[in-house]
């Protein structure tokens, strides 16, 4: 399906927010849209950069791999950018993006993206600040996760999920999306067994409840207070 920037209602999208009305039809003309079923790879680490991706709907995980070990470094949902980590001198995607559920992702060729950045100063300015925030978040994560205990790492993982996807619109203590347990361990940077033990300990203390695959948060204030990544 062709998605048009000029009639889009995704108001948090950087293109919608910061590009001039003249540029939106031009971007629409060049961009393409693809449907990715859950588990499909959108781009892989090492691929040359061809463009920037924007999530129209769905949920995506961004991962780095060290041999067989996968570390989730970001969770993203609709209206967010993907593939921006590859822009720079090397022009290679350093990470892999995988759909967590059926997702629609639009693609903007890199030359069109650059032209839009050059022609829209506010877009360029906001992109710079976006990168600055990403750099800060990456360094905070690196600085802290190395010294955290397993339970603290799992709390950071839970807060990462809450901040990325929030709570269900109909049930405000139930996570809107609970990744599979293996992915929660990848976000936390712990083994599966350690993560299961930490979730059990949080459940015992009435901080969370595990309802099948889903997780309900009973004490958000506790998680916020003990999320040492902030």
């Amino acid at each position: 399906m062709k998605r048009k920037c000029e009639t889009c209602t995704h108001y948090k999208c950087f293109i919608n927010k910061y590009c001039s009305p003249e540029w939106k039809p031009l971007i629409s003309f060049h961009k393409t849209s693809m449907l990715y079923p859950a588990g499909a790879t959108i781009f892989s680490a090492g691929d040359p950069i061809k463009g920037i991706f924007q999530i129209y709907s769905g949920k995506i995980k961004v991962v780095t791999t060290d041999g067989e070990k996968e570390q989730i470094i970001r969770l993203a949902k609709e209206e967010q950018l993907l593939g921006h980590r590859g822009l720079g001198k090397k022009m290679i995607y350093p990470v892999t993006a995988i759909a967590l559920e059926d997702s629609e992702v639009t693609f903007i060729p890199v030359d069109v993206f650059y032209s839009a950045v050059k022609a829209n100063s506010e877009f360029a300015f906001q992109m710079m600040l976006f990168y600055a925030d990403e750099l800060n978040a990456a360094e905070r994560r690196m600085k802290l996760t190395a010294g955290l205990k397993a339970k603290e790492k799992v709390i950071v993982a839970l807060m990462t999920i809450i901040r990325a996807f929030g709570f269900s619109k109909t049930d405000n203590t139930l996570l809107e999306y609970t990744p599979i347990r293996k992915d929660i361990a990848s976000i936390a940077g712990t083994t599966y067994e350690t993560m299961i033990r930490a979730l059990g300990s949080l459940e015992k203390s009435n901080i969370i409840v595990q309802e099948g695959k889903a997780i309900r948060v009973l004490d958000l204030a506790y998680l916020e207070k003990h999320c040492l990544l902030d």
């Binding site: 060290d66 822009l87 720079g88 001198k89 090397k90 050059k118 100063s121 300015f125 750099l135």
Partner: protein, 231 residues
């Protein structure tokens, strides 16, 4: 250094701002003349602006609770400092100190944002600069966890060369600018391991040593070991 007739080809303001804006920067910036080992900004301080090293060398450090210091980045003439503070909190997450006598231009947040908004080439450059910093930062993390001493030393040498350039381009003399102890801190290995690895590189023909100076004999081998390019 006067922005109107500056010849520094590594300074983003000089390279990407229009002439009128160079004059504006010259009038609005503050020039700081600092001695070696002088603090430029400290972690936790509010971000007042961005700094450009007009001349000299600086190190950017993470001071840990254990009073241990990790050197995160080295910067040479024309390079930007303090950009890591631009975030929602507007607080410097790291500290920076001069390594030798340096001239530093301090540009306020307001003026820097004005420059970025009004000079599209500067805006694109800054976006790409942050993209590179993000990549480099994640690579550094992987390196500290994964690599051998050889790779760590090669990585450190390439970061030094990319920050300070060669002292002499023809002979490819490395301009270390910091002590062996600090180089080892940057590489996250002991000073002894660092020296031993340098000696090994000389044996293998990757480096040459004449008196106290080190020269790169095989750039390709060094860059391959480091996993990053020499720029």
């Amino acid at each position: 250094m006067n922005c109107n007739n500056c010849t520094n080809k590594r300074c983003p303001i000089n390279m990407y701002c229009l002439p009128d804006w160079l004059a504006y920067t010259q009038n609005s910036k503050s020039s700081l003349y600092l001695t070696a080992n002088y603090s430029i900004f400290n972690a936790g301080e509010l971000v007042k602006g961005i700094y450009i090293l007009c001349s000299g060398k600086a190190k950017v450090m993470l001071e840990k609770e254990t009073s241990k210091v990790d050197i995160i980045r080295l910067a040479g003439s024309g390079q930007v400092l303090g950009h890591r503070g631009f975030s929602e909190k507007m607080v410097y997450p790291l500290s920076a100190k001069t390594l030798n006598e340096s001239e530093i231009a301090s540009i306020s947040n307001e003026d820097f944002f004005k420059l970025v908004r009004e000079n599209k080439d500067l805006a694109v450059y800054m976006m790409m600069f942050f993209a590179d910093e993000l990549l480099l930062s994640e690579q550094s993390f992987q390196i500290s966890g994964m690599q051998t001493s050889r790779e760590k030393v090669a990585y450190t040498l390439v970061r030094v060369i990319n920050a300070f350039k060669y002292a002499d381009n023809t002979s490819r003399q490395i301009d270390f600018g910091i002590s062996l102890h600090e180089l080892a801190t940057f590489a996250k290995i002991s000073r002894t391991s660092f020296s031993r690895t340098l000696a090994k590189f000389i044996e293998e023909g990757i480096l040459r040593k004449r008196i106290w100076n080190y020269y790169v004999a095989d750039e390709v081998a060094l860059a391959n070991l480091a996993g990053i390019e020499i720029q």
